[in-house]
Symmetry: D2
Subunit: 343 residues, 4 copies
């Protein structure tokens, strides 16, 4: 089969012919129809410090956001059937550790990650454990199916605590940030402010429902947000930029007693003014990673079925597998929404 393979510890990756993955007893084999590019894929492609830190075994087929059709199942598979349309959950929990046993599979002690620790989805076929196959409605487009994994992170970040009836600021309007904006709008956020440094993304933010957008390079974020909130600050901060200075800015405009969802991954340690921004503020902070298995997925299904949330404006581009390099280059510009790869 065709697959994008990372072979060397340097920039790049190649489209190659490789054997189809083996299907273990607990696995399902999916013919990938649509995949999507995530920031992590760019790290692996460019072999950044991040990629080195997460111990990527080479050679590796990367990519972990995808949808497709199940074409084969292992002998221990009980729920998923050949012909099912599925989206993939990237996180492969062990199912046996303390975290898995108390309902925290998404922070499993022995987590493996698809497309990082095991072969992933930039390929014609991918084998995943049954637990990681989320069955989609048969009439859902594969393109929408391919964004479920990223959308799920936004669902997790937004809904980890009360959101309806509150004001919120979202830092970072990449694809997950854009989903978060759409979800916040859907969820009765009373004042919805999006912050980024790239004008194209702020335009997408508006399309997803942000009433106010702020270009952090051209405007005074703190002054503007405090003006908009009677000097009190916002109830909720959804941090998706991963930028240390944005994180600090976000905390500065959080109201006393406010809530933070930290999601974006800074590339280094972050200096925080804990005294004024956390302790004296009586702030409540949640670290958010992945999707709760499977509350987040069920909630996502309910939201999609409601017909009141449309994620499609976030999908800005589609490429064929053979155009993979071009897709990666476009993703690197940070001016686009979600970029899909049609397999």
């Amino acid at each position: 089969m065709k697959a994008i393979v990372k072979e060397k510890e340097r920039v790049g990756a190649s489209l190659k012919d490789v054997p189809r993955p083996e299907v273990k007893p607990g696995d399902v084999l999916v013919r990938v129809e649509t995949a999507a590019i995530c920031g992590t894929d760019i790290h692996i492609y460019n072999w950044t410090q991040y990629a080195k830190n997460v111990n990527v075994p080479l050679p590796l087929i990367f990519g972990h956001e995808f949808s497709g059709e199940v074409v084969e199942i292992g002998r221990n598979v009980s729920q998923i059937k050949v012909g099912d349309i599925v989206a993939g959950e990237t996180h492969i929990p062990c199912g046996m550790c303390y975290q898995c046993r108390i309902g925290n599979q998404h922070i499993c002690q022995n987590m493996k990650i698809l497309g990082i620790h095991v072969n992933g989805a930039f390929a014609e076929y991918v084998a995943i454990p049954e637990v990681c196959a989320w069955k989609l409605p048969s009439n859902l487009s594969f393109d929408i199916g391919a964004i479920y994994e990223a959308l799920g992170v936004a669902v997790h970040a937004i809904f980890v605590d009360n959101i309806a009836g509150k004001s919120a600021v979202i830092f970072g309007c990449g694809p997950i940030g854009l989903f978060a904006i759409g979800l916040a709008n859907f969820s009765g956020v009373t004042q919805l402010i999006a912050v980024d440094v790239i004008e194209e993304r702020l335009n997408l933010a508006k399309k997803m429902g942000a009433r106010i957008t702020i270009n952090a390079e051209r405007e005074k974020v703190e002054e503007k947000v405090l003006n908009l909130t009677r000097g009190i600050g916002v109830d909720v901060l959804i941090e998706l930029s991963g930028s240390p200075s944005a994180i600090r800015q976000g905390f500065n405009i959080l109201r006393k007693g406010g809530r933070v969802s930290l999601v974006g991954l800074p590339s280094s340690r972050v200096e925080l003014d804990l005294v004024n921004n956390v302790i004296y503020k009586g702030a409540k902070i949640y670290g958010i990673t992945g999707r709760e298995m499977f509350s987040t997925w069920y909630k996502m299904r309910a939201i999609m079925e409601s017909g009141k949330f449309d994620p499609r404006p976030v999908i800005t581009d589609k490429f064929n597998l053979s155009e993979f390099q071009k897709a990666i280059k476009l993703a690197e510009t940070c001016t686009r929404g979600k970029i899909l790869i049609k397999i």
Copy 2:
């Protein structure tokens, strides 16, 4: 001044000329512009068992939902000024008991209620403690101001726990139920079902955003709701009917692990199947009364300012103070939304 006075322990009330209320040191005197009729008012008018139970002192000016302009302030008043436009909080907390001191003023141990225990708002003027005067934006219409009190109950009931991304059924489409439907729709409820027995109110429910309406007299509520929810039941039950059989029905269609807000006041004890509907279900139930002081009011302000929630379809009728009897009679039909009294 003119006022509607309840004088005798029997059906009825009269429009009379009475002295303006005295303004105590902590009071503000409000010239009432718009009042609204609540179910409690009908109880007092009809001198039902409920009215007898709550120890209404006669004679009494009743009415407790209103908006107006402050025309005089007591000498200890510090925040409210003459000329301020205000809505009234019905619950008069003592400010000193355990509940008041831990932030639970809405369930004060020594609560007095405007228009029940002290003279109320079906009058040209009403005197209320400063703490019960909520300042409105000067450009808000008095009609909208007059519904804040009832809207606040709906805000309290809906937002007492997570609501966004969940399915909900609302039993009872009186004014508070209709507000609750609008708020649920505003707040990202994924499946929004309204139940009542009166077609006119179900039509209002649709206007406020209910996707599905069920006439409990003509349709099989439980079958229909279970069909709509894959047999699992709804995530959230907002009970506003106060009908014992509706309450039981509501619990029957609640999903395991679901949440209930009990708001509607049954006129007698209610027989519940605690085993199957609460204990085995792992249900979580909140008793809801009044408005949290003042989280609910701030949340309401934020929701109204968002421009994304429109309560106006709930206001179906307006009468002059002299038409009070007519207004009460119309309210008794249970076919209308909120009925206003222009003073």
Copy 3:
């Protein structure tokens, strides 16, 4: 093997010789060392309405609280090994329904119950799905192991919400109630009141740490509790009696804004004054069933390992399997704590 078998739809059960249970691929076979008698067992023995309602298939080996040693494992078993000492989780979840997939296995939509729907533990051997085998420390006594299941209900009821630093009243001093008292004492309950109608059980309550015990037949419960709480009522009500009048009494002495864990199973519908006891009170009520799988079990392990909680005074009697009838008769007196059956 020897087992207590319920054969007929009338009072009674017999000690019989029956074949050892079959071990399915996902099962573990446990040689039962100690079992314990639960109220449900008495219902089945006496063939009460409760037993009829839960669709017990006859003939049936009943009993569901036990500890023992694993002597055989099915071919799909991966974590439990022959020689492991285990306690049994009574609830057999399907693992695939909505509830199971969102971390609510204890309220599985398709729950089967050991000793009620499938053959149970009053026998020399019992086969249980691997998921229901909780591994115990090898040095734990089988007697202690046999109470884990009942203790877990108390852990679930007490810890479902904040308990430390609060006052609590526990209605019903049967074995679970006694465990709950011990746990409340362990957990920093500031005022710990136990209510029952049987003096022997109130004495056990004192042994487990209840500062105040009230005999509801001889003393005025409400007056006494209100006196003890400055007229405010208790913060937390743990209802384990299942008695309708006790439930109402409990709600009467709950403080405004208080919390209730409903656990005891009334034998019929219960009439509640929802207006005064739930709605106006702003109460928060949790239905509690079984043990959260497996948060409750891990918490229980941590509590037992702390060495600060001693459940042993609750174990008042031990019988051999052949003395089963005698044990049941003693349990029926409601004067004892937990009664064990040594197999």
Copy 4:
């Protein structure tokens, strides 16, 4: 009257004769019986950067932890009476801002602090607003009354989320840390670990109930804690040291999904590994300041009345007002518990 006055922007303070404070209409005048030294007092005495940052107006009577007897009341005071024994709440909320009105007085937008922004309690008399006077039982010793303010911070930090049945590590065994250890022990913490760098304080930690104490300078904190927790880490981190490296260490030993109460005030920004210690960990962090007004105080009263928590071992030293310099010098050694000043 005699008072300790900070006069100059340099190290030191003097015992002086100054006029009694004026009693405003809303104030109560307290004859101080016992005061206690807090870290903030040492900052003011030594005129550190912290003191400069908080805008201390000179000259100032500092000190804010105290108990005493009310000897005069302003004309608007309604609850407190002459002769009442009271402890002081240090935080003087405005009572009118958004935070105060939603029940968050402890994080008032316009907070003033006793002994920092207005004259404090190292004096024979102190005038405080009525709202800041917490009435004590008349038989409570003044020494115990003087520690309520600091004890309250520990109560707030420990009880902000579930604690009973969890493991906890407490970093920093100063007075608040020692109270926190006692409270954790009282509250059913299953594994209670105290960390400090000073042996005397670790000994006090043991007296207050810490099962395990770790000297962070001599022992490997992370290795030891992970060994004690099966490699999983602790459920709860209570951070009272304010040391950046301790904070990082604390996060390293927090279990995935664990909870943090940040209380200790670092003297500068703190570099955190947000990716591994917050985001991937799914951590939940609370900033804690002051005491919730007045939930914390009521909880404290209930805990003290339970008779199950003894704060007295934390009180290690008492001095007369004239020995103030000596007391400050001893406090600076960080080897003692709470140091009292008898006025």
